[in-house]
Symmetry: C3
Subunit: 340 residues, 3 copies
């Protein structure tokens, strides 16, 4: 039901420490911790002996020690000590997951470890570049399926109804969208020309009049969505040439990781190329984005509840659904290919 | 599992306003609101586009606007606007329920709209008549099946065990009941002769000694129960002639509407023909009735929980169950007839 | 799924009074109360009339009266009064369970009453003997299967990981255990020789140096575990001869009674043969034992949750599991024998 051979965000880098962290990912109990040299490790969070979550134990000399009977596991998941006996019983091990630390995130590979390829991690270099200011987001735990979040991000027409306080203006739906299907990515593009900037941009930009602004939303399979957004004084660039170098730019990077079929850890952060080092701007942006996403949570959880009542009942599609439907198709294709 | 072609109380009239009100009725999500001219409307509370409850949106120009993508629906349930596109997709509509406002209640017809006949609404004229003082009740949401409430109302012997603080006296079960079966109504009658009045009547009547009092409980299919109760000084009337014109009279009108198979919105109010306009009496009555019904809630929810453990285990019947059993028979007959 | 023809602890003696007490035991709703002469009674907690829990009623003249319609039941479970009618309907009765009051506990027999034999109650005479000081425990309600508690008590190696604040020392697993299987009892024995006493013993004993201490844990089918523990100055006795008469002795008596398959009422108390009458010692012991068991609750409930995810997945056994596995075997044998 999930794509397994791919990377998911398991945690922010700062969440994983010498204290074990429990997190259910793709319906599997996972424990995350760091060894003495700082390497992040992800193991199955269930002792092979009597099933206690290993996250209730502690890290002792780089090994994870069970909090019930003291069995110890190394970073590969092998049981390497059973108190009171020299012999380790055959089969005493827990699952170990490939882990990579990159772009401030801990990425985990939940499928076949032999296929884990770091090159498949989304290239979110903006999170780690001196010319961009990262505002680390937080994560939200939502009671909804993660694909509802992808739908939400690929259809920004909802800004006009859900987020008028922060990101939205009432005129967004007047401007058509373009949908592009690449091999492992879906792109939605919308240009809003010659209109007042929305509240967030008004506050941060230095615009004299109306602006041209763009929303370029790219979803990579299974569920990683980068939003390239920005604004510039109307009449200074040609939208047909794509996102301009000039103007203010924001990158919103979104990683909704399934906890279960109906709940999600939604990691998000954003980077900007203006007001670098300005902590007030960072705080304002964080506050606005948090408010925006809190507004989405209410919608998405209500939507999930209603969908759960009649899971097989058809829905009516409208024009702005095209990118979301394409992303769902891409993911179905990949899941079917993985199952063979 | 429910009778569909009949009227249920959906809400008190004052609950339905220009702000959408969500209420699950007979396991269906319903949204209630008023158009600009004050007409009450009931629609399916699930947008046909992406399933968000429409109750999370708002009423705009008499139409209900979805809070996610702004689709708008008219009072008949038709989608009449999709932001950003001129064409309304075929099939874009939600269910619309016939609604009638009468006797301070909003009545809803959950079955075949073509059969909705206002004449089938119970004739609760006491709620809207100058010679009767209505004390609007509230509604209770109970975790029990609605038929347990009908059982409760048709067997007032429980007053002796549950409601001694308000309506009950210990001697009720000494007096036999009479059960009458009419075509679409079950009637239970009990006369309690030459006894002290119960606390509530003592407080409100002006009795010199003992009273004769009556409980005439009439349940109309599926679940609407009117209690005609009253008291008069002993020896002044002949009980064999039925409820007298003299004495004090109370009408308790009860509409338990199923939310689900195991939960109920229980609407109730009462009218009296004495102390008209006396707000203190109204407040006292409201307080006593509320206390009484709160006592019932505890019983009914515990009963439901225990019944749920072993739904098919037979129960033992006693004499006072006759009216309740007759009402259950009447409802089964009607549900079977409806299913054909 | 449970052994039925055996005694379980239903309650502490002081819990059962003239006020009905509701308790679900082995998935059956039970109501406990005392008649006027103080005899404890256990009935099915479900009125045969309309299924209200009888525990919501009251004891009237030694009979249990239903709180809804006033039916009354005697100590044998027979309905002996129906208000308003002289005739008791055939079949009007609730289940009655054999009950014995012994060792401060109310014991209940949930199976065939004809087989209820008081001689089968564990002989926990220490709870009622002038040379032993009983510290009544409390009971804990745990969200775990009762056999997990038996596992826990038969494998005290976990003291080194879970209870270092109270009963544990880090060296326990250095000392091997012995497992003995008797007909209806499993015994685990461990001697810890020439080591410092754990915190609890340090505080209460009067030891000059290291001690020899013993843990003799005996589990009787289905789930009654007595721990004979103690300590004595190193070198003063011969462990090969078994528990010595000299030294300090503690008896920990444990009765985990299933509420459901995944929840348990865990009754426990302990007796000692030192510091008799010293209330400060009693209070200290109670506090330490309570802390210890609260530590276990966290472990056991987490274990149950994880086991529930994959109930059929095999576990890896280690040496210290031998007594627990033997107890599980004994219980399986008895349940199978009972089912025939």
């Amino acid at each position: 039901m999930f794509l397994k051979n791919c990377w998911y965000v398991a945690a922010w880098d700062h969440e994983v420490t010498g204290e074990p962290l429990a997190r259910t990912l793709l319906c599997e109990p996972v424990v995350l911790y760091r060894t003495e040299d700082g390497t992040a490790v992800a193991l199955e969070d269930r002792c092979c002996h009597r099933a206690l979550p290993l996250s209730m134990g502690k890290v002792v000399g780089g090994r994870l020690q069970c909090g019930y009977h003291g069995l110890e596991f190394d970073a590969g998941g092998a049981c390497v000590r059973v108190p009171g006996q020299a012999h380790i019983p055959p089969g005493a091990m827990v699952w170990s997951y490939p882990v990579v630390e990159r772009w401030k995130y801990i990425w985990i590979w939940m499928g076949d470890a032999a296929l884990a390829d770091e090159a498949l991690i989304p290239n979110w270099w903006w999170f780690d570049h001196p010319e961009w200011e990262l505002v680390k987001g937080k994560y939200l735990r939502l009671d909804c399926n993660y694909e509802l979040i992808t739908d939400n991000l690929l259809d920004l027409s909802h800004l006009s109804y859900v987020h008028l306080q922060t990101l939205g203006t009432t005129d967004i739906t007047e401007f058509p969208i373009k949908t592009e299907r690449e091999k492992d990515m879906i792109r939605m593009t919308r240009w809003i020309i010659d209109r007042p900037a929305p509240p967030m941009f008004q506050k941060l930009g230095n615009f004299s009049g109306t602006v041209d602004r763009w929303q370029i939303v790219e979803t990579f399979s299974p569920c990683h969505t980068q939003i390239l957004a920005g604004a510039i004084d109307t009449g200074t660039i040609d939208p047909a040439k794509g996102e301009p170098v000039a103007g203010m730019h924001i990158r919103s990077l979104n990683a909704p990781t399934p906890e279960t079929e109906t709940s999600t850890f939604y990691f998000f952060g954003h980077a900007r190329d203006f007001a670098l080092g300005d902590e007030q701007v960072s705080a304002d942006l964080f506050k606005m984005v948090s408010q925006t996403f809190d507004e989405d949570v209410v919608i998405l959880e209500a939507q999930q509840k209603m969908l759960d009542r009649e899971p097989d009942r058809p829905l009516i599609d409208i024009n702005v659904d095209a990118p979301g439907l394409a992303a769902r198709q891409m993911l179905r294709r990949d899941i079917e290919a993985e199952r063979g």
